[in-house]
């Protein structure tokens, strides 16, 4: 199973949303990371065959997805960035409705819906109407509907938005288990969501891929370049100008900072363990 993106570009009126994207995916988890407007959602909508790209193509097992139609859609699970569900439906009804649209046989429908409600932790509120659900609960309904047809390709646009830390951890667990035989593509602003589970992280900036690697390799490339030190508050402006600051912690009149620098930025600076978030700041903070 291969999903490949070839020479993909997309333009909205005056904005070049994606430029010459090329990469291939086999079973595993792929994290799309980038600031707002980087082109993550556009790329995901093209991969879900919702919009047609201005240039290039997406191939699934070497066949253009736009020609596959129903046979591609039946292998697809998709959670859009904005999702509410019909507010006058209960979670169970909504999932049964989507199961129906996905062509699940009636006998399978109820079992699958019950399984997924339990998986996302909503089985005790399944009879409650969606209008009474919190943002996080709706998100979980969205994740459940994407999984209904046991898709080979799962595209989740910011699945963790609105989820509390426990739910995020639970979702990571679910995705890790599913990734054995599926292509899972997820976009997020929360770096820790992809750091621990993604097989590859793709950094998108202004519609271009600026880095695409396994998180461990990315983190390794920053070894000995992430520093932590304490400075008087008055010196902060200087360091903020000179180095990408990842984190600041005010301690009365002093500030503890974490930054990226090729060489020791301060005599008292100590090397710390790099994280994927450091790489994100390295790429995006200056812009």
């Amino acid at each position: 199973m291969i999903l490949s993106i070839k020479q993909l570009s997309h333009r909205f009126k005056n904005v070049q949303a994606l430029q010459q994207i090329n990469f291939g995916m086999t079973a595993g988890i792929y994290g799309l990371v980038g600031p707002n407007g980087a082109g993550k959602s556009t790329l995901m909508r093209i991969l879900a065959d919702i919009i047609l790209p201005t240039e290039g193509q997406v191939l699934f097992n070497n066949r253009d997805i736009t020609t596959l139609g129903m046979s591609y859609r039946e292998k697809l699970g998709y959670l859009p960035q904005e999702f509410n569900g019909y507010t006058h439906f209960t979670a169970e009804e909504f999932l049964r409705y989507v199961a129906n649209l996905k062509g699940l046989p009636k006998s399978e429908e109820q079992v699958r819906v019950a399984e997924l409600l339990e998986l996302v932790g909503l089985d005790d509120v399944k009879k409650r109407k969606l209008k009474g659900y919190s943002g996080g609960m709706k998100r979980r309904v969205g994740i459940a509907q994407a999984l209904l047809n046991d898709p080979s390709i799962l595209i989740l646009d910011e699945p963790t938005a609105g989820l509390d830390p426990n739910e995020r951890i639970r979702l990571r667990g679910i995705l890790s288990k599913l990734a054995k035989d599926k292509i899972i593509i997820l976009s997020t602003h929360i770096i820790s969501d992809v750091e621990s589970i993604a097989d590859e992280v793709v950094f998108l900036k202004e519609g271009k891929i600026i880095q695409k690697e396994c998180p461990k390799t990315m983190i390794e490339s920053l070894r000995n370049q992430v520093w932590s030190f304490i400075i008087p508050e008055g010196e902060l402006a200087y360091y903020a100008d000179e180095y990408p600051i990842i984190n600041m912690h005010q301690q009365q009149s002093r500030v503890e900072i974490r930054c990226i620098a090729k060489q020791q930025p301060h005599p008292k600076a100590v090397n710390v363990e790099p994280r994927l978030e450091d790489m994100y700041v390295y790429h995006f903070k200056r812009s």
């Binding site: 333009r11 909205f12 009126k13 909508r45 879900a48 065959d49 919702i50 919009i51 047609l52 201005t54 139609g69 129903m70 859609r73 039946e74 697809l76 998709y78 959670l79 859009p80 904005e82 999702f83 509410n84 569900g85 019909y86 507010t87 006058h88 409705y97 989507v98 129906n100 649209l101 996905k102 062509g103 969205g142 509907q145 047809n149």
Partner: protein, 244 residues
């Protein structure tokens, strides 16, 4: 799929309220007509469609049925629906079928209200042929055809505009124009003639003038052309996937 779409329609709040208004208004009219003579009471029966029946039916179609075509957009479910196995085209067809089925059901409910209340307030002696004659069934056929056309027109319109508010306002005005305009005072095929006859309510009113109109063919041709035009526009817009 059809079952779920019908279920969505049945869940609409106020549908019972609208039917209640029809029952109450028709009861009042019949009650006072029953205080007069048998000929006048019998005359009231076909008048059910001229205002109460057609107006309420039109309102229900606009306010409740059209929601089916904008609900996905309003609840951010559109892309979920689009990426399911059957895709947007099949689902659109199923939705069209469900509003046609639902509209047919509504016409039956309205006929039931019309007849049952007529018999409840009836204190006169009629032969069954006096009540259920050819004109009575012709009226039902016209109402059914008109409401089908109107439901389809509204469905295409709301799919194109993706807004229920715009559909209610614009299609509602077009639908309602037949009531204040006097057809017999308009020049055939003039602008006002089209406004009076042009948006299905003329047929749905099934007045004696409509039922005995020997020159209905141009009206049907206009309705069919209008539906074909709207269907063409809808297909064009539904096919468009290059977002710009």
């Amino acid at each position: 799929m059809l079952r779920w779409e019908i279920r969505k329609l049945l869940r609409t709040p106020w549908l019972g309220g609208c039917l209640g208004i029809v029952v109450v208004s028709w009861s009042i009219i019949l009650y006072f007509a029953a205080q007069t003579d048998s000929a006048r009471y019998l005359d009231k029966l076909p008048s059910f469609w001229s205002v109460i029946g057609s107006l309420t039916l039109g309102l229900i179609i606009l306010a409740f049925l059209m929601k089916l075509f904008v609900l996905d957009e309003e609840h951010h479910v559109k892309e979920v629906v689009q990426t399911t196995k059957f895709g947007k085209r099949t689902i659109f067809h199923v939705r069209l079928a469900s509003i046609m089925l639902f509209t047919s059901g509504l016409v039956c409910v309205f006929v039931f209200i019309q007849l049952s209340l007529f018999f409840i307030f009836n204190s006169f002696e009629y032969a069954m042929d006096d009540i259920m004659n050819g004109l009575f069934f012709q009226a039902i056929l016209y109402v059914w055809l008109g409401s089908m056309g109107f439901a389809l027109f509204g469905a295409f319109f709301s799919t194109i505009t993706k807004s229920q508010a715009a559909t209610i306002i614009i299609v509602g005005i077009l639908f309602g124009l037949t009531y204040p305009l006097r057809g017999d005072m308009l020049a055939p095929f003039s602008f006002l003639w089209f406004l009076e006859k042009g948006f299905f309510s003329y047929l749905m009113r099934a007045t004696r003038e409509v039922l005995t109109d020997a020159n209905l063919l141009p009206v049907f041709v206009w309705y069919i052309s209008l539906l074909l035009l709207m269907a063409g526009l809808t297909i064009m817009i539904q096919k468009r996937r290059h977002e710009r």
